[in-house]
């Protein structure tokens, strides 16, 4: 039971981070970015390749940087063309990007299942009677640190203010001197980096393959929706909730498929009862 809780907390914090990136992009560009998972996936694959020649933490950082760059690149090329069209245009285009990236991963690195080397050796500690490896502990810590850092960055800095201005009223933000295009680029780069981190964190705990990050994105999306799509705190809490629910469902039923059902029912329930999400604003 406890070990399931710990596992749920761990994966949940990764979902929470990805949900954060997802919500950030949604707030910044009003796009449901279905490629958010695979942007991280590319970084993960690059990092995995580099681990053969670099220390694992360094290779991981390089992978995160690649994801951030990829986010920036996509914003400059694909996203800019759909950002002012219908919501469906953004959805379809990012879906195309997600599939393209996944197939590229498969073509370059093969379609098989891979494992990521441990981040900090193989040591472990005992926590409340549960064995937790250093890697998992580090993952949890990284998730918490990045989450807190992002929240502070957005709430306390001028740039955070600019993001919020650009998302609430674009024309007004432009008129007040906010460089909306720059804000968008930075948001996509930031979100890209975060999703690279998430991909690596989860690869340390589980295995990975092309598209595995899109499955993770589905859970992050659930978290974001549960949290109300526009609330960063909501996304964080939603991610941990999804991780815990998932873990508990696996513990009580032992069926993998039940997990997806649980996530589906959770999304459905929250959206039907509170279309704006638990912490979302009035506009859904």
């Amino acid at each position: 039971m406890i070990s399931y809780l710990v596992l749920g907390l761990l994966t949940g914090s990764a979902y929470a981070l990805l949900a954060l990136a997802f919500v950030l992009v949604y707030k910044g560009t009003r796009i449901f970015n279905l490629a958010q998972g695979e942007i991280g996936g590319i970084g993960l694959y690059v990092a995995w390749s580099l681990t053969s020649s670099l220390p694992v933490p360094l290779a991981s950082l390089a992978g995160i940087a690649v994801s951030a760059l990829l986010g920036l690149l996509l914003e400059r090329t694909v996203v800019r063309r759909v950002v002012d069209r219908t919501p469906l245009a953004g959805l379809a285009a990012t879906l195309g990007v997600a599939l393209t990236l996944a197939y590229l991963e498969g073509l370059v690195w093969k379609f098989n299942i891979k494992t990521y080397p441990p981040l900090f050796g193989l040591g472990s500690v005992q926590l409340a009677g549960v064995t937790v490896t250093y890697s998992r502990l580090a993952a949890l810590g990284a998730a918490a640190a990045v989450g807190a850092g992002l929240a502070l960055f957005l709430s306390r800095t001028r740039f955070g203010l600019a993001v919020r201005a650009a998302t609430s009223d674009q024309a007004l933000a432009r008129a007040s001197g906010v460089r909306v295009d720059l804000v968008r680029s930075v948001v996509w780069a930031l979100a890209g980096g975060v999703s690279g981190l998430v991909a690596i964190l989860l690869a340390v705990v589980y295995t990975f393959h092309p598209l595995s990050n899109t499955f993770i994105l589905v859970r992050a999306m659930a978290a974001a929706l549960v949290g109300g799509m526009t609330s960063l705190t909501g996304a964080l809490l939603g991610g941990i909730a999804v991780g815990l629910v998932e873990s508990l469902v696996v513990w009580t039923t032992g069926v993998g498929g039940a997990m997806d059902t649980a996530v589906f029912l959770l999304i459905l329930l929250v959206l039907l009862l509170r279309p704006g999400g638990i912490l979302g604003g009035r506009q859904a």
Partner: protein, 659 residues
């Protein structure tokens, strides 16, 4: 449309028809020589075309994004497999499977009543994954771990026979789809996709229409699934996974949303390419993914637009629902029996200013025809009566106990400064705002207990301050759309193209033409609304409202954004409607001379209260009204201020009691 054939647009055989004949001959020549493998691929293409058409209906027509369509196709396939295992005879398996899928799809669509857009898309994605993992991956066949086997019945056992069977399935769905596009339901789908508020205001039950779209999409998907099961002779979870769902989305988007021809071409491309590339098959989905990433931004009309340009179909009405032709095509005589107006036949673009004056020559007879059987026994003098209507928005009292009355045959004005609550008052009448207190009756019916679309179907029709039209559709399509609630046929009748359906559609068309002519926009009938100047859009919206046959027409600032000439023309049109068609009007307007010209009674709102009411002259003399408009003490009351014309032409004096 009309039961009789219409003259074709082109002279002689078009390039398209030649190509079609050529393709037919080629297939006819090669068909006996095709290898079993080619026949398999062709049958697979047909199956995937049907599946893509099912998503095109849902997403392209009705605007409901589904990221789990493969799950619906899978339900059809599993249903057929299970029915076959229960030894249900062959054609019955397909029918029952399609019926079961139709029902499940309607259930899957239930969340769309509550949520929309991207949130809804997320639930469909979750549904697709759930169905794949939980339903399809179950050990259906105790003897085999990989799904269930589905033996082909003797009738479709050979490769050639099966190919013909698949072709038949595709043809069935194409015919259904073509019929659907010509019914009021097909038009309602588009209205729901483009503008839900307009759809409701024109009498379309939005929620029911969405469920209908899901159900019909399920029907197509069920047919596709059944064909798929027999094609593979086996059903298993990996056929109907989330990636297949996403491939359907890709095909619909790349094909061009709502373009059935684009959907078919894209489906053929996505299905056929991997088979053509064979050893390099992995590049096919990659190519598809890149296309999907680029099409929405670079080329949003998709493949359908290319096909439409290369192979134009005769007449704009045969196109996919999505793209009305940008330029009016040369036309033969107007359809519809006995054109009421001489001169319509020879109308050409640019030459038809509507007849001025009292409306002589305007084909009002068509519009005046009795419309809906009134379910009321007592003739009423008061059409609309509101008493003590209060509305609060988040603690702010916007309307404070308003009253208003519109009697049969009146033209009532509702004026007041910005923020007085005029449009909110309208929204109470049409059902977009629920008042906190008060009563509103229409023909002595409690209006507040009725949903928006039901109010429209009782003859209470409104226009919007921001033009309420589907901008992506043509003028004619919009005016037809507005007549949704006049249609008296059901979905099944419409799909079967029963004679009475054709008659009603012809009637709707002639009503639309008459209404467009009354408003002077007939020559724009095939133009896309978004390409028209603002003033014309307003006239088109009015034409739609008139075609809907209202007893009481609510107009929200009809002259907004018009120049004085256009406004004067509009005033003439409105007087025509009032005199010739006996419509009662309730008009919100800022432009006071306009109100004075057409109204016989005016209510002045200020800060959510009725400040004054009376004939235009009385209003003009009321010092409170002048001060509300111009600021207190700005001018001596009314005199020569130009606030109202000295004697409004249309003012008909004090309202008298009684009929």
């Amino acid at each position: 449309m009309a039961g009789k054939p219409r003259p074709k647009a082109g002279r002689g055989p078009t390039l398209g028809s030649l190509l079609l004949v050529g393709a037919g001959l080629t297939v006819g020549f090669f068909f006996p020589r095709l290898s079993p493998y080619s026949l398999y691929v062709l049958a697979l293409v047909a199956v995937q075309m049907v599946a893509t058409l099912s998503l095109n209906l849902l997403m392209g027509y009705a605007g409901q994004v589904s990221l789990g369509q493969a799950a619906l196709v899978g339900m059809g396939a599993y249903a057929v497999a299970q029915l076959a295992a229960w030894r249900v005879p062959f054609p019955l398996t397909l029918l029952a499977g399609a019926a079961a899928t139709t029902a499940s799809a309607a259930l899957v669509g239930l969340p769309s009543l509550r949520i929309r857009g991207l949130q809804l898309a997320a639930t469909t994605l979750a549904f697709g994954i759930m169905a794949e993992r939980l339903i399809f991956a179950r050990p259906w066949d105790p003897l085999s771990t990989a799904g269930m086997s589905v033996p082909r019945p003797p009738a479709i056992q050979g490769d050639r026979a099966f190919f013909l069977f698949a072709l038949g399935g595709l043809a069935t769905v194409l015919v259904l789809d073509a019929s659907l596009r010509k019914t009021r339901f097909g038009r309602a789908f588009l209205a729901v996709r483009f503008r839900e508020d307009t759809a409701a205001a024109w009498g379309i039950p939005v929620g029911l229409t969405k469920l209908l779209a899901y159900a019909l999409s399920g029907l197509y998907a069920g047919i596709a699934g059944g064909m798929y099961a027999y094609l593979l002779e086996r059903v298993s979870a990996d056929t109907f996974n989330i990636w297949q769902s996403l491939a359907y989305v890709a095909a619909v988007v790349v094909g061009g949303l709502g373009s059935w021809r684009g959907a078919m071409v894209a489906a053929a491309f996505f299905t056929g390419l991997p088979e053509l590339l064979r050893s390099h098959a992995v590049y096919a989905p990659l190519a598809g993914a890149v296309l999907l990433a680029l099409v929405p931004g670079v080329w949003p009309e998709g493949l359908g637009a290319v096909v439409d340009r290369a192979l134009p179909l005769p007449g704009p009405r045969n196109r996919g629902l999505r793209t009305p032709s940008p330029a009016p095509a040369p036309r033969g005589p107007l359809s519809g029996k006995a054109d009421p107006v001489p001169g319509t036949n020879s109308m050409k673009a640019g030459t038809s200013e509507p007849p001025d004056g009292d409306g002589a020559g305007v084909p009002v007879a068509v519009l005046r025809a009795p419309l809906r059987p009134l379910r009321l026994s007592v003739p009423v003098t008061t059409l609309l009566r509101a008493e003590g209507v209060s509305v609060t928005f988040g603690g702010l009292e916007v309307l404070k106990g308003l009253h208003l009355e519109v009697r049969r045959g009146e033209v009532v004005g509702l004026i007041g400064p910005n923020g007085a609550g005029k449009t909110t008052f309208f929204n109470v009448f049409s059902g977009f705002v629920l008042p906190r207190a008060g009563t509103v009756t229409y023909r002595n019916l409690d209006l507040l207990s009725l949903p928006t679309h039901a109010r429209a179907s009782l003859g209470l029709v409104r226009t919007f301050q921001q033009v309420g039209l589907c901008r992506e559709m043509s003028v004619l399509e919009n005016v037809l759309l507005a007549q949704y609630s006049l249609g008296r046929y059901g979905l099944l009748g419409g799909l079967a193209r029963l004679p009475r359906v054709r008659t009603q559609e012809a009637e709707a068309r002639s009503r639309a033409e008459a209404a467009m002519e009354v408003m002077g926009v007939l020559e724009l009938r095939d133009e896309k609304v978004s390409s028209l100047p603002y003033g014309k859009q307003r006239l088109v919206e009015l034409a739609g409202a008139v075609a809907a046959g209202p007893a009481l027409l609510l107009l929200d600032e009809p002259a907004a954004g018009m120049d004085p000439g256009e406004a004067a023309e509009l005033a003439r049109h409105l007087r025509d409607l009032h005199h010739e068609l006996g419509m009662s009007l309730l008009v919100i307007e800022h432009h006071v001379p306009f109100v004075a010209e057409i109204c016989n009674y005016v209510y002045v709102l200020n800060e959510g209260e009725v400040l004054a009411e009376g004939s235009p002259e009385e209003i003009q003399k009321d010092p409170r009204v002048v001060s509300a408009y111009l600021g207190s003490g700005a001018l001596p009351a009314g005199q020569g201020s130009g606030f109202l014309p000295a004697n409004g032409r249309g003012a008909k004096g004090r309202r008298t009691t009684g009929a």
